[in-house]
């Protein structure tokens, strides 16, 4: 049986029971696999219980694909174990680095998009896909810094990665909005140029002005509802590329499950629109 994934939600421990009881059709949940890399215990039991009802997406933060180093074999093995156990509908990672020379930096760090970086990241993605025996989606990052010396445009870089490795893309519309505002380019133009056919998943999230710098710098904080501007970009994107599994990503300042479900329903309604047009 193939389930059509519509709009999904990030799964938080506070919402396990509500998630388990929720009957919404096409609903799916996304988790960070790093939080479930345990030998046993209630975390895995909860995830397996929810997996028995809803599709799961594994969204990694720890492979550090953009580091100039091979993915940690132990980490990759744990991820492969979780993939076998959960059989996720989607697997994704970031165009970023977080582990470097044995230290984990819990963030998604930037780098100059050089041909050297492209070759290294393509190799790391290929190793990951071979180990997992799955196609993974790579997410466009949020940008805060003006980095001189990018040899590659971000969209060209991502498109080239899909060409070289067969990977897909995870398009985070909030990241596009935040980055466009911070670095001064057009979010509309970026989204129009994005290779839509490679998009396996879409993320929507909230952002906040930086507490020190204000509106000059938006931070991809995942602690607020999706902004109206991001909803508008999303609707335009869907009308161009068609429906894709879409996640409401919320990690902080967590509201109750019903509130998140209402936000998820808004995305589901956007996803229904192209279908009704086609019908």
């Amino acid at each position: 049986m193939t389930t059509v994934l519509t709009a999904g939600l990030g799964l938080k421990p506070q919402h396990y029971d509500a998630a388990l009881a929720c009957p919404a059709a096409g609903l799916w949940f996304e988790v960070h696999p790093e939080n479930y890399m345990v030998a046993g215990g209630p975390r895995l039991a909860w995830l397996e219980a929810i997996r028995s009802i809803h599709a799961i997406s594994l969204h990694g933060v720890g492979l550090s694909l953009a580091a100039d180093a091979d993915p940690d074999p132990a980490h990759l093995a744990r991820l492969a174990g979780l993939v076998r156990r959960i059989e996720p509908a989607l697997i994704s990672e970031h165009l970023a680095w977080s582990v470097w020379r044995g230290t984990y930096h819990p963030d998604l760090l930037p780098f100059p998009r050089s041909s050297e970086a492209l070759a290294r990241i393509a190799d790391n993605i290929s190793r990951t896909q071979e180990t997992l025996q799955r196609r993974i989606a790579i997410e466009n990052p949020s940008h805060y810094l003006k980095i001189d010396g990018h040899a590659w445009d971000e969209i060209d870089f991502l498109a080239e990665l899909t060409q070289r490795t067969g990977c897909g893309l995870l398009l985070d519309v909030n990241n596009v909005y935040v980055s466009a505002r911070n670095l001064g380019y057009s979010a509309d133009a970026y989204l129009d140029a994005f290779p839509g056919e490679q998009v396996m998943e879409i993320h929507l999230a909230g952002h906040m002005p930086d507490p020190n710098l204000g509106e000059e710098l938006l931070v991809d904080s995942h602690d607020a509802p999706v902004a109206p501007e991001v909803w508008a970009l999303y609707a335009r994107l869907i009308s161009r590329i068609g429906t894709r599994p879409t996640l409401i990503e919320r990690d902080d300042n967590l509201p109750d499950f019903r509130t998140l479900l209402a936000e998820r329903e808004r995305a589901a309604a956007v996803l229904r629109a192209p279908l009704s047009k086609a019908a």
Binding site: V38, V99, W100, H105, F111, P112, E116, L213
Partner: protein, 258 residues
């Protein structure tokens, strides 16, 4: 393989990682233009906050005792000394109890390292391999002589420790369970046993005999040897009662005849 001569990407990452952790150091040429931008602080703050949040989540009783402000200040010092190595952050803070033992501002709170060890035990028990606990009925029917030659293997989630210096178990359990924490307890040595026979981590106080008994079991000793160890630790130990308590708690996973 990482190339022996770092390429441009590796040099960038060396410089960036150093600037994240040591804001006072002069940034390397590769990233000087980035570290000078106010937005660089977003990365620095996110990395530090992620580590400190993880440590606070992993050491709940310690954080409750010292308060959030003190905890986060101590966690910042710990992070500079021992940043996480693993993206699975449930494991962050393995050396936090040792750190607290030599952390000067904690000198007035001699019970804090012990409390940190029990917080860490909780995490280990929570994430340990699933296994059925040994059914007490399986042992109840055996004659004492037969029992003495058997080996009881501790459950994979079982963690225990004896604290000769003070009532660490009482202090930890009251703070872990968010109970009122006042001075209403005796200052005496205490031990603790944490188990997870099913989904939830459970805990009981355990005397010196019980801790010695489990130490002997995990070393592969027979029940006879474990009983000797228990009596050595505490000559008035009630072995039948001790074994019943451990079995009821779910401290074992199986027993084997030697």
């Amino acid at each position: 393989m990482q190339s022996p001569i770092p390429g441009a990407l590796a040099r960038f990452q060396d410089a960036f990682a150093l600037a994240l952790r040591a804001p006072e150091a002069r940034p390397a040429a590769e990233i000087a233009a980035l570290a000078a931008q106010p937005a660089f602080a977003v990365y620095r703050n996110t990395v530090m906050k992620g580590c400190i949040d993880a440590l606070q989540a992993n050491f709940r009783a310690v954080a409750r005792i010292v308060g959030e402000k003190w905890f986060r200040a101590a966690a910042t010092v710990y992070w500079r000394e021992a940043p996480p190595t693993d993206p699975a952050m449930l494991d962050y803070g393995i050396s936090f109890a040792d750190f607290l033992e030599r952390f000067d501002p904690a000198a007035g709170l001699p019970y804090l390292p012990g409390v940190a060890r029990l917080d860490r035990f909780w995490t280990e028990a929570h994430a340990a391999m699933d296994h059925d606990a040994l059914d007490p009925a399986a042992v109840a029917g055996l004659a004492p002589e037969a029992l003495a030659a058997n080996v009881l293997t501790p459950h994979p989630a079982a963690r225990w420790a004896w604290f000769a210096d003070g009532p660490i178990y009482t202090i930890w359990s009251r703070n872990r369970a968010d109970q009122p924490f006042d001075a209403d307890f005796d200052w005496r040595p205490e031990g603790a046993l944490l188990v997870r026979p099913r989904d939830v981590v459970e805990w009981i106080a355990l005397d010196a005999a019980g801790c010695a008994f489990l130490d002997a079991c995990v070393a592969g000793g027979t029940l006879g040897k474990a009983a000797q160890a228990a009596l050595q630790a505490q000559d008035d130990a009630d072995l039948a009662q001790l074994l019943a308590t451990l079995l009821k708690a779910g401290a074992f996973r199986k027993y084997e005849t030697q």
